[in-house]
Each structure stands twice: as structure tokens, then as C-alpha cells.
Symmetry: C2
Subunit: 394 residues, 2 copies
């Protein structure tokens, strides 16, 4: 079956996490993503703990569907070969610290000089401009500057980073979005361009309404744990075998919700009869619901809430996500097998296209696995590849 991005070649200079998330979006939908890996250790995520068969378990989860060639960009010959590859490409993506590509003599102007319609995307912690432009950053640093970290956690506790690195991954998704936007422009005009995305900007953009509300009302947004300023119940509750989320946000839901949790007698109670009253008296209402929920398993609560048509989700551990019927029904858990890692599972494709569905077709490549396939296309013979290997260029 045809994929939407077939025929688009991406030279992928990214490593570790944020950049590979960006290029994974393109590869899942059929773009040819060629990872350029340094010839010694490859993508740093190959060396991140934990290890399986002596290999980092991070790496295969972010690099399915991609090809890998080895190339040493610290050598002049390596740079020259990179530019030969750029001539064959539609897109170049990198996620070095801001300004690094220019220092290496591989900035956008150089790319453009060899391929005038190239689309080049840079992704870094703070962006290519501003006082922090040359600073390195990790996901938690971006969350901290964007304000999302301050807002996460309980009111009586410390700020807390998100449990998955949304700074990295959201920056990656916005980079993919930028590349597709630029491809649409190129389709119309033939023009390439440069894309500058930062992890921090990406999170600022997703910080809900908080900037608007603060500037309109002067009220500083606060940490609220699992609660929400605008509705109650909307919280995490205990179950016999874990936790679950129970929510209402529609005023009409209070009656069926109260019935579901055995609080029929409180439906018209003046402490709880309106959303406003429930918010005011949430500390009285919470234990009444929690007392009900903690005597039941998540499966029992699910059955009751499904029948009542009320919003429910179990709070799942990763081991439970993998076995969840809804997640599995959505093809979000993919069985993989490769010579390096054996059998394992990774996350599926979230964008479900009816005519050109994305898919996970090949496991993450080993370093330089596609050297011969790719390099021979630009006239480098297998013998020359062997020579370059000896010289430390590939």
C-alpha cells in the first residue's frame, strides 16, 4: 500500500530523542529517512542504560523504519560526502546545540548552495536566536523555562517534571509539522526554506490558556495535582488495585455520576448540587467518592462507569498499557524482532490515515547497515567504502 510521504528523502543528522521523534513521524508515513551516524558509537541512545545484549534499550524504540549510514562529519571528506547526499535529498534535519551546524561549516546557506530547494530543520532546546541560543538543554530544562514544570505537581508539594520527556517529544512533533508545512509550500513554489524549532517554544505554545488568563486576570496559575479549576469531580481516585480518573465536566453529568458512586442522596445536597458548589466543597466531596472507589477494583469501576455513560480511565502502568484492550485495538503496541535485541514491543503510529496508513515495517538499523545501498547511489563503490572505513571517514 502506498504511503503519503513516499518519495521524500530525509537526511537525518539527529540523535538521542527529540530529533529522532521528528524523523520517526516522517518515516512512519513512508519518507526515506537516512540516519547519519558517527562511525564509532553511533546515536548516543545506543549507549544509554538499560542494556540488552550489551546494547542500549532506548535506541530501537525511536528509530524504526529508518536507514543508517556511518559518516564522520569531523573530517573534510565526511562533510563533502554529506553534501553529495544532500543533493539527493528533500529535507535535512539536525538537533545539535544551537549554532553547531554553522560552526561545522554545514549551516543552511551551505546546504542551500548545493541543493537550492532543500528544506532544513533545526531543533534544539531554546532555539537558534536569543540569549540562550548556544546553551545545551534537555527536556526538563525546556519544561522549566516554558512554565509547564512549575504547574505540574500537587499544591502542597514541589514542582515536578512530566514522567515522559514531553520537552523532547513535543519539540520533535512540531519539527515534523514544520517540515510538512514547508513541503507543502515547496510543492507550490519550488522553494525550500529553513525551519527553527525549540523545545521551549513548543511547550510555551501548548501551555493552554495560562498566558492569556494570567494577563487578562492577573491571577498566577498554580499547581493543582490532578484537579482542575473549572470542574469537580475531576480527579484521581484510589481503587482496590491502583488508581483511576473519574471526571464530569458537563453539568448534566452530576446526577448519573452521583448514582454511579452510590451518592444518590447527595444529588440535591446544597453543598454539591452545582459545579460551583462542588468546586467550593471539593475537599468534602472527594473522600465520599474515594471511599466508594477504593472498595472496588478498576475493572469493577470501569463496568459501572461504562454502563452509566460516565467518563472513566484506569491509571495504567506501562505493563498494563501494553495489555489494555483499547490501546491494543488501536494498533498502538507493535511486536518487533531484530537480531540485535530479540523480541520486544514498541509504540505504534498515532496518525491513522484511511487511504495511506502509516506502519512500522523495519526495526531500527545497526550503524552503517545501509552504507552500500546509499553510498553506491552517489557513485561511491564498495571498495571505496572499505577504504573510507579504514580512514575513519565511514
Amino acid at each position: 500500500m502506498m504511503k503519503a510521504l513516499e518519495g521524500i528523502r530525509v537526511i537525518d543528522l539527529t540523535t538521542a530523542f527529540s530529533g529522532p521523534v521528528a524523523t520517526m513521524q516522517l518515516a512512519d508515513h513512508g519518507a526515506e529517512v537516512i540516519k547519519i551516524e558517527n562511525n564509532k558509537t553511533g546515536d548516543p541512545s545506543r549507549t544509554w542504560t538499560p542494556f540488552v545484549n550489551g546494547k542500549g534499550a532506548w535506541y530501537p524504540t525511536m528509530n524504526r523504519n529508518k536507514k543508517s549510514i556511518s559518516l564522520n562529519l569531523r573530517t573534510d571528506e565526511g562533510k563533502r560526502i554529506l553534501l553529495e547526499l544532500v543533493k539527493t535529498a528533500d529535507v535535512v534535519v539536525e538537533n545539535y546545540k544551537g549554532g553547531t551546524m554553522e560552526k561545522m561549516g554545514l549551516g543552511y546557506e551551505v546546504m542551500k548552495s548545493v541543493k537550492p530547494d532543500i528544506i532544513m530543520a533545526s531543533l534544539c532546546g531554546y532555539g537558534q536566536t536569543g540569549p540562550y541560543k548556544n546553551q545545551g538543554a534537555y527536556s526538563n530544562l525546556a519544561e522549566a523555562m516554558a512554565g509547564t514544570l512549575y504547574l505540574t505537581g500537587f499544591p502542597d508539594g514541589m514542582p515536578c517534571g512530566s514522567g515522559v520527556a514531553f520537552g523532547d517529544s513535543v519539540g520533535g512533533v512540531f519539527t515534523a509539522l514544520g517540515i510538512l508545512t514547508a513541503l507543502i509550500h515547496r510543492n507550490k513554489t519550488g522553494e525550500g526554506q529553513y525551519i527553527d524549532v525549540s523545545m521551549t517554544d513548543s511547550l510555551v505554545h501548548l501551555s493552554e490558556c495560562f498566558i492569556g488568563i494570567y494577563t487578562l486576570t492577573g491571577e498566577e496559575p498554580k499547581r493543582m495535582g490532578n484537579r482542575d479549576a473549572a470542574a469537580f469531580p475531576y480527579d484521581l481516585f484510589e481503587a482496590k488495585d491502583g488508581y483511576c480518573i473519574l471526571s464530569i465536566t458537563n453539568v448534566n453529568d452530576w446526577t448519573p455520576f452521583a448514582k454511579a458512586v452510590g451518592l444518590e442522596h447527595l444529588i440535591d445536597d446544597l453543598r454539591f448540587d452545582t459545579n460551583k458548589h462542588r468546586i467550593e466543597n471539593q475537599n468534602e466531596l472527594f473522600p465520599l467518592i474515594n471511599e466508594w472507589s477504593k472498595q472496588r477494583t478498576r475493572a469493577e469501576i470501569e463496568k459501572i462507569f461504562m454502563e452509566a455513560g460516565q467518563a472513566y480511565s484506569p491509571v495504567l502502568k506501562i505493563s498494563e498499557v501494553i495489555e489494555n484492550e483499547q490501546v491494543k485495538a488501536r494498533d498502538m503496541i507493535i511486536d518487533m524482532e531484530d537480531p540485535d535485541y530479540g523480541k520486544y514491543k514498541i509504540q505504534g503510529v498515532p496518525v491513522k490515515l484511511s487511504l495511506t496508513p502509516g506502519s512500522v515495517d523495519t526495526p531500527a538499523p545497526s550503524i552503517g547497515q545501509h552504507n552500500e545501498e546509499i553510498y553506491t547511489q552517489i557513485g561511491i563503490t564498495p571498495e571505496q567504502i572499505a577504504g573510507y572505513k579504514e580512514q575513519g571517514v565511514m
Copy 2:
């Protein structure tokens, strides 16, 4: 200046948060996004607390650059008019509960029958398939099922939702990504298609390496607060005037880091000399660094860390994000003014395109502000619009 998505018309049936984030990505880059609002109260976010001048402060932050027309889709005439508009459009987006559009007689097959190359995107909590397909969901419910909520919080505390609604917003960004992917396919082949995105799938996809690592190692991923399994220091530290994040993830950074925080004497200490040792002894090392940081303001720490070339971010409140020099230098804080809300600020455009930059040009519209402009294009006269208003159709 030309924008990349100019000429693309989007019929936007989405409300509240997740869907409007999707269409905001398209509008910021020049697509004509026409919000279809019910003729009585409009987008529910117009009625969400807090209020300014009697109007919900949420609404304007997510709906800049869009047009609004009023239309009652519960009437046959409203449905007929919608399909007339679909004939003029490239994309339709909706974020009702799964299956709602079919029930309304406005599913993809109907859209396609009036506009064969239409691209239609649906975004909901759990997706259009699977046992939860007809369940309503909010951001925290998606976070709970995707496993990201369980992983957020401190090891000795409860799971905690993210402080900004990443379920909604990440689902929105993936929906925009799907639409652009489908547009690229349509450019090549002339074919439209249907896109099905769920908030839960989107978060599962971004749950890092955890699915892979769990299935490779059998170790259940755990909540780690602000720490990371793979490096230390990588944590939140106290400052005199708030909190900051200090991190090293490169082994070579330990020496300059230790010097920066006045711990030169511990550089070769066998408890801390390697990353492995620092992880093992993090509870000994943390207070030594924290003792140093809490005697200094964030500005003092920033200066020291910038000079040492070490990774640093202040943990910013929203009021501080707005004033931050890096965030401002990136044009991420936009001054707005409109008749409904007065002066306020909202978040900027995170995807920075060099040739066709996105921008925030117009404030969020009032309900039906563009009725005359849009409806006259499909042959409905101002007099007919007035009549439809009286009948409750517009």
C-alpha cells in the same frame, strides 16, 4: 508575506481545546480556518471560567487567526448548508465523541459524497475504534490510559497529571500533522482520505522508550520526580527565590559542574567521580548541591552556569515566562487587543519558517463574525442570513 498554507480552506467543527489546537497550527501558517459555532453559546470555551467582561478567558487563546460563522447542525437546513460549505473546502476537522458525526448524518462517507477529495480528520479521547470508541474523554483520562500519568510524580507520592493538558494539545498537534500528511498525498494523487487520531494514542506514541524497555528488560518503569534513571545531577534544586533545574548528561561535564557549585574537592571523590557512582550516591550528592543553590538567586546561578557552559533553566511561573528574555526573543509572547477582551497576551508560533513565517494576525472572532463574508460566497444573501437567524439555523 506569503504563508505556506495559504489557499487551504478548513471547515472547523471542533470545540474547546484539543481540536482548536489542531486548527490553530493550520491557521497560524495561513490556512483559512472557518469555525462553525452553534448559534446560541458558540464554542464551550467561551463559557469556561475565569471570565473577563463576562466572557470566558480560555477562548481567545486558542482561536486566533480563525473565522467564525454560526450554524445549527441540529437542523436539516443547517446540515445542508454545512455540506455546501464542505464543497468549497479542502479539510474538515471535528472532535466530537467517537461516532457522533455518523449519528448526525455527517460522517466521512457523506462528506466524501459531496466533495470527493475532502480530507476529514476526527480527534477524540480514545479513537473511532475499540471498546472505548464511544466514551467521552478529557486530557487527564487520556494521560491515565496512556501510562504517562502513572509515571508523573514523586516516587513516594501519588501519580500526578501534567500541569498543562498534554492529552488535549498533543492530540491536536498530531491531528494537524495528519492533515498535512494527507494534503501532501492529495497534492500527488488528487485523493482525499479520513484521519482518525486519539489523545490516548498520541500520548502512547510519546511515552519515550518505556514500552520497549519494559518488554526488553521486564522492569516496570517508575515515577522519578524530577530525576532520571540515566544521569545525576539531573534534578530540581532550590534557589533563594524559587527553583531551578541543573543537569549534566555528558560525563565530561562533571568537572565544570562541580567547580560551578563549589564542590571542586569532590571531583575525584570515589562516591561521585563517575556517572554510575553519582547515580548510586545521588541522595548524598543532592543536598551538597542544594545547599549551594539555595543560598543564591536564580539570576546568580544562571550567570555562573552560563559562564561554565553548563545546562541551567530557571523554573518559571507563567508571570515569569512572559517576562523571560529568551522566550520574548523567540516571539513566543504576542500582544493582542480586541473589543471583547481588551488587551492581553497569548502564545506565539513555535514553528519558525524562514521564508513563509507563521504569525498571529487577527484575534479570535466573535460568534458568527464572518457569516456574511462566508455565506455570501455560497450564494446565501444577507437577507437570507437574517431569515436563517430568526429560524435558529444560523
